[in-house]
């Protein structure tokens, strides 16, 4: 049985700089001006070297930890992305065409898919496990699955990050994302956190369960960014009914994660 609680959420994207602003936009159509990234948590030397893709991650990870009131140094991390750091990969591939010997060593080490978890570890002093994974367009659901199985198998909290950025033109045919979008959620063992927002049970199934689609305006705002697949699950935390909500996230063309809300905050079912 895969059960877990969610005790904090972070969000950053077009028209919102945090979870509250995202809810305001989704509910009332009131979107904020785009919020610049200023992840003070990253030490100055690393901040200068870190790309936007890393800053997005550190921003939402910090938000989720603050919301859940937990010490980031102890947290295992699962980082999930469809396309990783496309801006840095675009730089690498362009330089390699004409002047390969001019590759920047900093950009090269930033091009690893786990750059964000590496900078996070340096920024927080965390020696905890970190995973960085991809499942192409199914990365949001697979990331959630990996985080949830870690919570159950290791009986410890896991900080999940799901994000992708806008694609540069040469990569648009792979991922038609036009916006930068990052979410984080702190998952904890069921019943372990008195301030939990909700408790969930996860099962895999061949069939998707029916669920309300995002409004056209919201869907359009995030169109093409695979991280948006996590949004229905996150938004379910803002609903106040204790039980019964279900959310489906695709894991592949043949498999879905079905999430049933088994309790509100505080206690597990």
């Amino acid at each position: 049985m895969i059960e877990f609680a969610v005790s904090g959420i972070g969000a950053w994207g077009p028209g919102f700089g945090n979870w509250a602003e995202l809810l305001e936009g989704v509910r009332n159509g009131q979107w904020a001006d785009d919020v610049p990234l200023r992840p003070e948590r990253i030490p100055p030397r690393e901040r200068r070297r870190s790309p936007a893709f890393v800053k997005m991650a550190v921003e939402v990870m910090s938000q989720a930890c603050t919301a859940a009131d937990v010490d980031p140094r102890e947290l295992a991390v699962v980082f999930a992305t469809a396309m990783s750091d496309m801006q840095t990969n675009d730089y690498m591939c362009r330089v390699l065409v004409d002047t390969p010997a001019a590759v920047s060593p900093t950009k090269f080490h930033n091009s690893v898919n786990n750059a964000a978890t590496g900078y996070w570890s340096i920024a927080t002093g965390s020696l905890a496990a970190s995973n960085a994974l991809c499942a192409f367009q199914y990365s949001a659901g697979i990331g959630l699955l990996e985080a949830a199985t870690q919570v159950v198998a290791e009986r410890r909290p896991v900080l999940l990050v799901v994000q992708d950025e806008a694609a540069p033109p040469p990569l648009e045919h792979i991922c038609p994302s036009t916006v930068d979008l990052a979410f984080a959620a702190l998952l904890e063992p069921a019943g372990s956190h008195s301030g939990a927002l909700a408790h969930w049970r996860l099962e895999t199934a061949a069939e998707a369960a029916p669920q309300a689609a995002l409004s056209a305006a919201v869907g359009q705002r995030f169109a093409g960014n695979p991280a948006a697949d996590l949004l229905p699950f996150l938004l379910a935390h803002a609903e106040h009914d204790a039980k019964g909500a279900t959310v489906t996230i695709p894991l592949s063309s043949a498999l879905h994660a079905r999430l049933a809300r088994v309790g509100a905050g505080g206690e597990a079912a």
């Binding site: 060593p105 590496g118 340096i122 496990a129 991809c134 192409f136 895999t204 894991l251």
Partner: protein, 395 residues
């Protein structure tokens, strides 16, 4: 937590499949060669898998063609791995069988070619567009297509620890009851991103790499594909070896330089020992990350010296294979597993004398040994560390 290992295989410059690898190890015959990778004139040595250029994928996989996927395909066909997967698929249901792959760069070599042909709108022409290939999950998608497994499928990409961590994720999936068996593995192939990238960090050796040698000059980049079919206890009746423990940690130090005392590396080894319920002295052999970079080999030796006694023998096999980056984890897990199965430890190739600064002895010669438990280390950029411990299933 235990995961039984029904079968394993690997393909690298030191051999396509286990028979060829064992022969290379026994003959102390390196697979390294002067760099002849197309489009790259860097003065270094590489661990290229010969013949990938001439492999034809079968028709149903042709749309996924790339150097990396050809390497995965070649690896999958060795040692009966594909047949074993088909047999378990026929016995259990395909949605109860997962795939966890590891890679650092997937098929970015194919994307590199596309960048040479960008049109006036800065886009790739149609013949260079292959979305299912040109993403980091490429190896997972390819293996799913090649095997027909329909359970959960993901690709771990944490630089050079990627395909060691596949065992940890696979074991957790088994423990949670999500699946009955998992095909874990890795595929990482030569490309300009990593050749010129490591060159920019001045980490490439212009000679065959010499792990743990005082005059080691850096790494040789290699390529490899490897797989292990793992299951929860009881699923296989012929699985003699098992994953007993794993450790995953971070360095909290630097993006491309290991912690000077090996703090994160030691944390990974300690976790793996704890999960396996073993004292350090129980480990008969450690296959080192052992890249032959100045920093890695020194730090890894220091870390091991803090925990182990010379009852544990250690060596690096990268003198045979080069550093297979995202496939190094599976490649060296398989070498460690085979050492346990054959009771034979590979030494360290190309190294005449161990760095006198090293406090912990490094095994240079091949040897027979009585092994109960073995360990494999994999450390990556971003300070991402993974350690695996294997033993016998009936232990």
């Amino acid at each position: 937590m235990r995961a039984q290992i029904q079968r394993y295989t690997c393909t690298s410059a030191a051999g396509t499949g286990m028979t060829a690898l064992r022969a290379s190890l026994a003959a102390r015959r390196s697979g390294l060669r002067p760099n002849d990778f197309e489009g790259c004139d860097l003065p270094t040595w590489i661990g290229r898998v010969p013949g990938l250029e001439d492999i034809d994928l079968p028709g149903h996989l042709l749309h996924l063609d790339s150097r990396n996927n050809r390497l995965a395909w070649l690896g999958l066909q060795q040692d009966g791995m594909l047949d074993a997967v088909q047999a378990v698929k026929a016995r259990l249901s395909p949605e109860r069988l997962g795939i966890v792959m590891g890679t650092s760069t997937s098929s970015i070599g194919f994307t590199e070619i596309g960048y040479r042909h960008l049109d006036e709108h800065d886009r790739m022409p149609p013949e260079f567009q292959a979305p299912e290939v040109q993403n980091l999950h490429g190896p997972g998608l390819f293996v799913a297509a090649a095997t027909g497994l329909t359970g959960p499928c993901l690709t771990i990409s944490t630089a050079c620890s990627s395909s060691a961590k596949v065992f940890a994720t696979g074991a957790r999936w088994l423990q949670c009851g999500l699946v009955d068996a998992v095909l874990v593995g890795g595929a990482d192939s030569l490309c300009l991103n990593t050749l010129y990238g490591f060159n920019s960090l001045q980490l490439l050796s212009s000679e065959p790499c010499r792990p743990s040698s005082a005059d080691r000059q850096g790494i040789n980049i290699g390529e490899a594909a490897g797989f292990a079919l793992i299951g929860r206890p009881g699923v296989f009746d012929d699985a003699e070896l098992s994953l007993l423990g794993y450790g995953e940690s971070s360095d909290a130090w630097h993006m491309s330089h290991p912690h000077p005392e090996g703090k994160g590396a030691l944390a990974a080894m300690d976790q793996a020992l704890t999960r396996a319920g073993l004292d350090p002295d129980a480990i008969g052999y450690i296959n080192l990350h052992g890249t032959a970079s100045k920093a890695n080999d020194a730090v890894e030796n220091v870390a091991i010296g803090q925990r182990f006694s010379p009852a544990t023998r250690i060596s690096s096999t990268k003198g045979w294979t080069g550093h297979a980056l995202g496939a190094a984890g599976i490649l060296e897990a398989v070498i460690a597993l085979d050492a346990l199965a054959a009771q034979r430890i590979p030494g360290t190739l190309n190294t005449d004398e161990v760095d006198p600064e090293f406090g912990f002895p490094v095994q240079l010669e091949n040897s027979e040994a009585s092994l109960d438990y073995v360990m494999s280390n994999s450390f990556g950029f971003g300070g991402n560390n993974a350690t695996l411990v294997f033993g016998r299933s009936d232990d």
